[in-house]
Symmetry: D2
Subunit: 144 residues, 4 copies
């Protein structure tokens, strides 16, 4: 099921307003109802001490994908906040780029349960490097 057009527009705008996503070189590559995919290279400035992608990069992509998956099923006047999220790191972030996919497990009125997976991708392989499970909350924007 594809995302409602008004949600595509506000999610694209929200993503574009995140300077961290710019710094990560990330792009929002897919958006359907309850599911969002984000992709980013492993830039030289985003590594840990062994030269792999930093956990903050993996976390940031997965959290953002999960957040926009949640936002895609919310009322158009809501914004999304991460209440909490857990990440299990399964393998080093080693590859040409990372791909994070978030999706909604259950959409309640006040809480949206989400999960995300992150993969390290090369031409030859696609290795899952993280699993995430968390909770997003809708935040009503103040009216002017």
């Amino acid at each position: 099921m594809t995302c409602r057009p008004e949600n595509v527009a506000r999610i694209t705008a929200s993503f574009g307003a995140q300077s961290m996503m710019h710094s990560f070189g990330a792009s929002l590559t897919e958006l359907t109802e309850g599911c969002c995919t984000i992709s980013a290279p492993i830039l030289d400035g985003n590594k840990q001490q062994h030269g792999f992608g930093h956990a903050a990069l993996t976390f940031g992509l997965g959290d953002t994908a999960a957040g926009y998956a949640a936002l895609s099923v919310m009322d158009p006047q809501d914004e999304v906040l991460t209440a909490e999220i857990k990440i299990n790191l399964l393998a080093p972030a080693h590859g040409d780029r990372l791909e994070a996919q978030g999706h909604v497990i259950r959409a309640g009125k006040r809480l949206i349960s989400v999960e995300a997976k992150v993969w390290a991708v090369t031409d030859e392989a696609r290795v899952q490097i993280a699993a995430m499970l968390g909770t997003m909350v809708p935040v009503r924007k103040a009216r002017p």
Copy 2:
């Protein structure tokens, strides 16, 4: 209890080798046995869509502080990896700088349980913005 000198040296070196910490403008400000503090400004390139610090920044500082807290109690030939960590975001990352403090809850031979807190700090206030709970594992470095 202060950290053994050889651990201070290798943790400082490891921290310096993380390009992500450079990109965040982070500094390791305190290190004792089982406890580590890291501080960073909220740079323009590290924000979310409302202009607050990004969760990836908060996470990255807390995870790194928790990791080096764990490394400070490990054997000198070990490196540290985050197996998993959970973050509860308590308030927006809004302030002059963020301060993350990690400490060891229980140090086992194979698993080290850690927690971390992150605060947003201004001249007037110090507000806790995140609580984290996770698991670090020692990784034996290959010998040449």
Copy 3:
């Protein structure tokens, strides 16, 4: 700070209505504003395969203590639900009894962040066996 009398009464009543707490032989031993302690023996029917207390017992006591810590700061007409909680198991549940203490980290209007610790207690020792971090939500009771 001690708990408001109306909250003591409803928490005591709610605890008494949990058949699982009866099955565990648990008692609510302390209740102050934002903090709750529950104690239980390790009964023969609540063990895992090595004869230690089962993780479901440790979890149940910690989750319940955290939930009532949250309820103690809520409006009197609200009930409490666990949205999510994470448990790190630090040591086997081996002792005369378990003691769980929950407390509120941050009380928001819609989400209450909590943590809990569980100890195994004997006459000689008190060993922390679990650390927990979670999120409670207030649920408005239907009016008659």
Copy 4:
């Protein structure tokens, strides 16, 4: 892929040695390589204050299913311990019985990442009530 026969035998024996599983009235209903299903009624003694199944029951079934999923891929001389696990509660435990399914996400030598789902089941419906994500560790049994 079906489970190696020696693993079926030791997992069945281990499950049978858990008095908590007896108290819950639980049965191990399916076991394949990396996957385990456990089923239990919601007994009168295992409820919370509103008459639904207690979170300790949901947690206990999910954690045990995830643990045996992990044990099914370990060396025959190993035992399994839960290092940590997170549970997101999605809906009340309301139905004729609960069914928990654990499976292995990634099997490392020292850590096994697992997830579990729990459903409340009636003749008419099967509703997912919990999602779990955790870490299991192999423990080498002492030799005689």
